[in-house]
């Protein structure tokens, strides 16, 4: 089951980006194969509006069923929920730490968005 992380880097040691909709990249990690895929989110990063919505579609297209990120706004959350993707919020500094906390069962599944849109 693939897990999506928000980041500005391209490996597990990279920093976890606290933004979802306007995260620079998504790192998709498959725990079974250990394969890492990095998706550039430049187009949505610069979107006038609806960045979270299209970022959520991108994560859905990647095949990830879990998203681990800092914060997630209401519209993005609505799309992720519609696509059946589980969201976990964390303040972990790196992708590796976020993965560790997720796999250790330390993160609770988000029941709703945890910030307003345009919260940064």
């Amino acid at each position: 089951m693939k897990i999506a992380f928000t980041t500005s880097g391209d490996n597990l040691e990279a920093l976890l980006d606290s933004r979802f909709g306007r995260a620079p990249k998504f790192l998709i990690y498959d725990p079974e194969t250990k394969i890492i895929e990095v998706i550039d989110n430049k187009q949505n990063l610069n979107a006038v509006q609806g960045a979270g919505i299209q970022s959520a579609s991108m994560v859905a297209q990647s095949g990830a069923q879990v998203l681990v990120t800092g914060h997630c706004g209401p519209k993005a959350f609505q799309v992720l929920k519609a696509a059946g993707i589980k969201v976990y919020n964390t303040d972990a500094p790196t992708v590796a730490e976020a993965l560790k906390r997720y796999q250790a069962g330390q993160l609770a599944e988000a029941k709703d968005s945890d910030v307003e849109g345009h919260w940064v």
Binding site: A47, Q49, G50, A51, I53, Q54, S57, A60, V79, A82
Partner: protein
């Protein structure tokens, strides 16, 4: 004849000019309050309401039986209003600008449209003045379609004065497009001049004839006058910085009613506009 009143900076006196111009007009005239986010001409022109119509924009509805999640609609939408995800695309009507493109590009004709209300257009009558105003619903951010609905009520057989919103963005462009003449209202301050220069760039880009009105003349400096001289822009009127005008305004009374000596000033402006436009 359509005269649009705009400004870069807000609070320079667009509505003051529009309402006084309408009140000074001889014969029937239409006043269109296109500042639909906060219409205020009705505070000065109190009329009887003749009509109220609600205005909507078309937003997409997807038929789940026909959609195969091809994603064409989502890729087409510039406003990111459609998220194409399994099992069904999610639509955000509040982001939709109602262009209709998604239903055109859908290869399976799975998208139909429904109306989403954004506000109302009201028509009021006060003597010879027909006041047409738009009122955007609270929480709606889509302004140009409502301004277009206000302008659609304009009777081309009668003269019309269009009171634009402040700034130089889409709502202003939507308002002034198609006008025979644009009056740019400014104040003689550095802020007034800065925003006037931006507004001048806008009307030049739209290739509309225009002139400048200086409000509260004498309260600031001469830089607006110097700018207009250098740019060869006519200054059609300078409304003096007169405390009595502000006092009347604070009571919702127009200067042409409170201080009849100012009526002549507006009659002169109307005369000047008539001559310029007919040329």
């Amino acid at each position: 004849m359509i005269i649009a009143i705009a400004s870069g900076k807000g609070g320079t006196g667009k509505t003051t000019l529009a309402a006084n111009l309408a009140k000074s007009w001889e014969g029937p005239v239409q006043l269109l309050d296109c500042d639909v986010e906060e219409p205020n001409a009705h505070l000065f022109i109190r009329g009887t309401k003749l009509e109220e119509t609600s205005v909507g924009v078309p937003v997409p509805v997807i038929d789940p039986a026909l959609c195969n999640l091809c994603g064409d609609c989502g890729r087409f939408c510039r406003y990111n209003a459609i998220a194409v995800v399994k099992p069904l695309p999610v639509i955000f009507p509040e982001l939709c600008h109602g262009c209709g493109g998604c239903s055109l590009v859908c290869p399976r004709k799975a998208i139909s449209e429904k109306q989403r209300r954004i506000g109302v257009v009201e028509t009021l009558e006060s003597g010879d003045i027909i006041l047409i105003q738009g009122r955007l619903d609270v929480g709606v951010s889509l302004v140009p379609p409502l301004i277009k609905a206000v302008k659609a009520r304009l009777d081309p057989a009668l003269p019309a004065i269009l009171d634009a919103p402040p700034g130089t963005s889409c709502p202003v462009v939507t308002t002034i497009r198609g006008a025979d003449y644009v009056l740019l209202v400014t104040e003689p301050t550095p802020f007034g001049l800065n925003d006037l220069a931006i507004a001048v760039d806008m009307v030049r880009e739209l290739k509309l004839p225009f002139g400048v009105i200086i409000n509260r003349a004498g309260s600031g400096d001469e830089r607006v006058n110097v700018f207009c001289r250098e740019q060869d822009i006519p200054i059609l009127l300078e409304i003096p910085d007169d405390r009595r005008i502000a006092e009347a305004y604070s009571r919702g009374v127009l200067m042409v009613d409170a201080l009849p000596e100012y009526r002549k000033m507006f009659l002169g402006l109307i005369d000047c506009l008539m001559k310029t436009i007919s040329k």
